[in-house]
Subunit: 194 residues, 4 copies
DNA sequence: CATGAATGAGTTTTCATTCAT
DNA sequence: TATGAATGAAAACTCATTCAT
């Protein structure tokens, strides 16, 4: 007699659709992905998709928000904010690397879908605000004269950009991920430290 | 004796088409850009486009190669290879910044979009090889113990990624381009120098 | 001894479905009404509908026949056929008006929409025959030289058409129903009387 | 050497589409008519339709306005307003009959598409106003005590409804058109005259 | 050469109907 | 018996490409 776990019906299917869409959007972009292809990959009828989402746009937006939040959580949850800046940076870079390794297409998706026309207001807001806490941490460290006195947004853009650059290089097979990430961390610490 | 000024229209039209396509691809992506829209922006009949290019894909590929080559040329042509590494880096960063400023949508086109399915073999080859000369310069500087002993591809990915990151931040209005670029240069030099 | 109040639900549900379909078909037409919407309005699962009717078409046909019969009954049942023609006409017009007032969407359904492709043979037959008794009454009155010697079908078409016309005008808000109906009766009596 | 009449290109196709849509909408209603069917009947590719109209709705609306105006013109243009009322009525009834005979599906279309949700504001305005001039003529005749002192809208609704009723009866094969129309005219004159 | 009207294959979306529970 | 999630066939609409002029 098992009571509850027997079914996982609706939410399961919803997740399947989102997962399929994520992969496809990451690989081929939003406009390059036909809805029936998402349905097929999700092992679901084409019409079923519209029981869970109002439109294709609703899917990207849901996906964008959900993944942006997951990324923010992966980076920020339980972050030892009291720790020395260098150690915090290490921890962040590590988390970034782990997240990228475990959710490869999430990063591809998030990078690929910057401020596109099909993102709605709420998604755009999240885009701007999700990683805001990091900025406070940066500014704090700057006040302590540990990080360079450069506009916080610039430092963050540098680090994020560099990270994405390395990720992409490794994906192109130019570079082994693990080693590259470790080396890159050291480099980027030099980039931002005072 | 052929009436020189009367003609030239062919090459002219071809350029118009490419220019229009570049802007649109940069703004909306390949799949998000209808051919008739390219034609309209190029002030050319929709059919005319097919007198110059075999297909929409032929346009992206032509564009990709041409712009990739222009970028390589802008970075490499007449580069004072004998100069000190720091100075070379400065020059490269400067050229990068100038290129980005003058050809904003070229960078957007080349980097802010994924060129997956529709790029052909030749374009893919260029993607890998166009900036190869820079790698030699990096490796040379590493041997002279001026740059960090990190896989050259990683250093290049870091710098390129960071540059793109700053560009994007400035495009989002978070950061003033000029100042950001200067600060970023200093940071990234620290990132790669020994 | 069966618990009477507990049951009845079948017929009840069937009626709910028909009632919902009637309203919707009257408002939006057959092709403009999605089956799930009928189910929703009937407060019934979408599948349930198919336990009572073989198809959407089966619903319209059932509805059409039922309502046509109800209309015929409302007009004809207990009609004092022996009364003077003028009085009979008055009674008929009155009944027509009452029926329209009490079953507004029935009239809309029966008359203000075309029922072409989806009506079956039986429904078509009823369409022609339901009001046949009236024709006999008309022809009888013509023989008595009370009504004009015009093909009975024409007289009936005139009266019915005029009635529908006034109904529609009142529905558009151009005209107050009560007064209009009274005036119209007088007019149409002049139209048909000898 | 024929100069101009050689082509009738664009407008011709646009008219074909409208003509095809008119017939189909009259036969099967708006929602019952698939766009590809319109295209086929118009001997035009399905996509072509969208070069001339923004949507299926745009077609009905264009059609509705155009036909409503044609009907108004057929009834009103050159109407001898100075003539005696009886004669005017005769003329109007004649014109109505001629219009119905020559443009059978126009009447069916106009009758079928009353105040439906896909008609836009402009179409609705025309619906109310196109035949307004007739109302003035009616009210004038009432002042001269030639027509009954019944709200003008009611009289018009009666006549129009009766006309439509006869038309429909004749279309169902119950009644020969010519004779019926003549008889009906006499009847309806009695209906409205004082 | 240049065009843009024409098109049908392909896209997103809806909906009548089924079926597992 | 009742349900409503699931579906694929079909609807409205778009767009890369062609071709007559």
């Amino acid at each position: 007699m098992r009571p509850a776990a027997a079914r996982i019906p609706q939410e399961d299917k919803r997740e399947c659709i989102l997962a399929a869409a994520l992969e496809l959007f990451a690989e081929r972009g939003f406009h390059g992905t036909p809805v029936p292809l998402i349905a097929e990959r999700a092992k679901v009828g084409a019409g079923t998709l519209y029981r869970y989402f109002a439109s294709k746009e609703a899917i990207v937006n849901e996906l964008y928000r959900q993944k942006k939040r997951e990324l923010a959580a992966a980076l920020l949850d339980g972050l030892p904010l009291g720790a020395p800046t260098r150690q915090l940076f290490h921890e962040l870079w590590l988390r970034l690397g782990r997240f990228a390794a475990e959710h490869a297409s999430v990063l591809a998706f998030l990078e690929l879908h910057h401020h596109d026309d099909y993102l709605d207001e709420e998604s755009r807001r999240l885009e701007r605000e999700a990683l805001m806490p990091l900025q406070l941490f940066v500014e704090d460290a700057q006040q302590k004269q540990i990080l360079k006195a450069v506009q916080a947004e610039v430092l963050m853009a540098l680090v994020w950009g560099a990270f994405v650059g390395v990720m992409r290089a490794s994906k192109m097979g130019l570079v082994p991920l693990e080693a590259a990430m470790a080396a890159a961390e050291a480099c980027m610490w030099e980039a931002i430290r005072r």
